[in-house]
Symmetry: C2
Subunit: 211 residues, 2 copies
């Protein structure tokens, strides 16, 4: 059966976004530093349709984490556009050709028709909770995995509900000091490190969640 996974970059002090997040700066102050290791790779650039970058261990990780994903689930804040009812002209943070290339299920309180984008990404808006979103994502993913794309709140909900099978953390050697903490109010799941990949920029640790 396909797995429910999550891969996310976390600072050494546990944050996945910096302080003072806003609609204009959803990743918070200093939060972009969490992703510099990925931006430097050839794989990330290729996924964005551009060239260059370094072909490193980190690049192999960036290739690996998308390989078996058949659908994503994300919180509304990660799709973007504020908390209220939809302005239908808003098409998300991700440009006309988002980097997902699969169905994406957005957790929201406000209904909206599916939004097909270029490159195989379709945003679907789910208003009846995380289990419904997972059921729809599983159906869309077929034999492939469902990946919880973020943000912290979406990951917390799936991890806390015992619905996550695997958490793949990219532990970035920076200290943000404040911001959005990933592992907050998730209970005490049992985790087992099943793969560790070291690079000069980041430490990748794949955990199996054993519930």
């Amino acid at each position: 059966m396909s797995a429910v996974t999550c891969q996310i970059s976390m600072s050494l002090d546990g944050f996945v976004a910096g302080p003072n997040q806003s609609i204009d700066n959803p990743i918070g102050e200093g939060g972009m530093r969490l992703h510099e290791w990925a931006f430097a790779t050839s794989s990330w650039r290729e996924q964005q349709g551009s060239e260059g970058g370094e072909h490193t261990t980190d690049a192999e990780v960036v290739d690996d984490v998308v390989r078996n994903v058949g659908a994503y689930i994300m919180g509304r804040k990660m799709f973007g556009g504020g908390d209220g009812p939809w302005d239908e002209s808003w098409r998300g943070w991700w440009g006309e050709n988002p980097p997902y290339h699969t169905p994406v299920f957005v957790l929201t309180h406000h209904p909206r028709d599916p939004l097909p984008m270029q490159g195989g990404t379709t945003f679907n808006f789910v208003t009846d909770g995380i289990e419904s979103a997972l059921e729809q994502a599983r159906a869309a993913a077929g034999d492939k995995d469902v990946s919880i794309a973020g943000g912290a709140s979406a990951v917390q909900q799936y991890l806390g509900a015992g619905l996550l099978d695997e958490l793949y953390l990219h532990i970035v050697p920076i200290i943000l000091g404040a911001g959005e903490r990933l592992l907050l109010d998730v209970g005490h799941p049992a985790l087992e490190p099943i793969e560790v990949i070291a690079s000069p920029a980041v430490t990748h640790v794949r955990y199996r969640v054993t519930h």
Copy 2:
């Protein structure tokens, strides 16, 4: 020149002690789980003068972290005995033969004569601040390293003041949810992972602090 180091076990959500710490339970609820990986090793048992345990990768780490230490610095809470003036009958948490086997410098506001114990450990009480403690510890350590033994507050003070050269984290795959956070109010030091050792129980990451 000798280095100033710190090696400490941290939960995946950033805690080095569990919630509801008290004089009777200084490591807090669930905090002992941070150290189970070490207790299971042959090296730790040998350091305590007992036998058994497993000779694993983790055991090699436990051997390695004491090898080049010539003196320790610890906070008063880690030595134990409450916040007020000393009850001179109190000889610390660590038994008559503490596991340090070197001079140990205890940060405190209350003066006390040095306390020699069995096995080479002498507790020295320093009332004039972290820089004085470091100076005394360096002198005692000679060519060897000075290790900040803990707790969180002592590590924070040395890291925040730019006095720590190396932070060796044992990242334990548990989520404590609350307790004493390690990397709090330490500013934004630059860290570089220089060694990663994986085991089924814990991920050991050695960071160079580049200030």
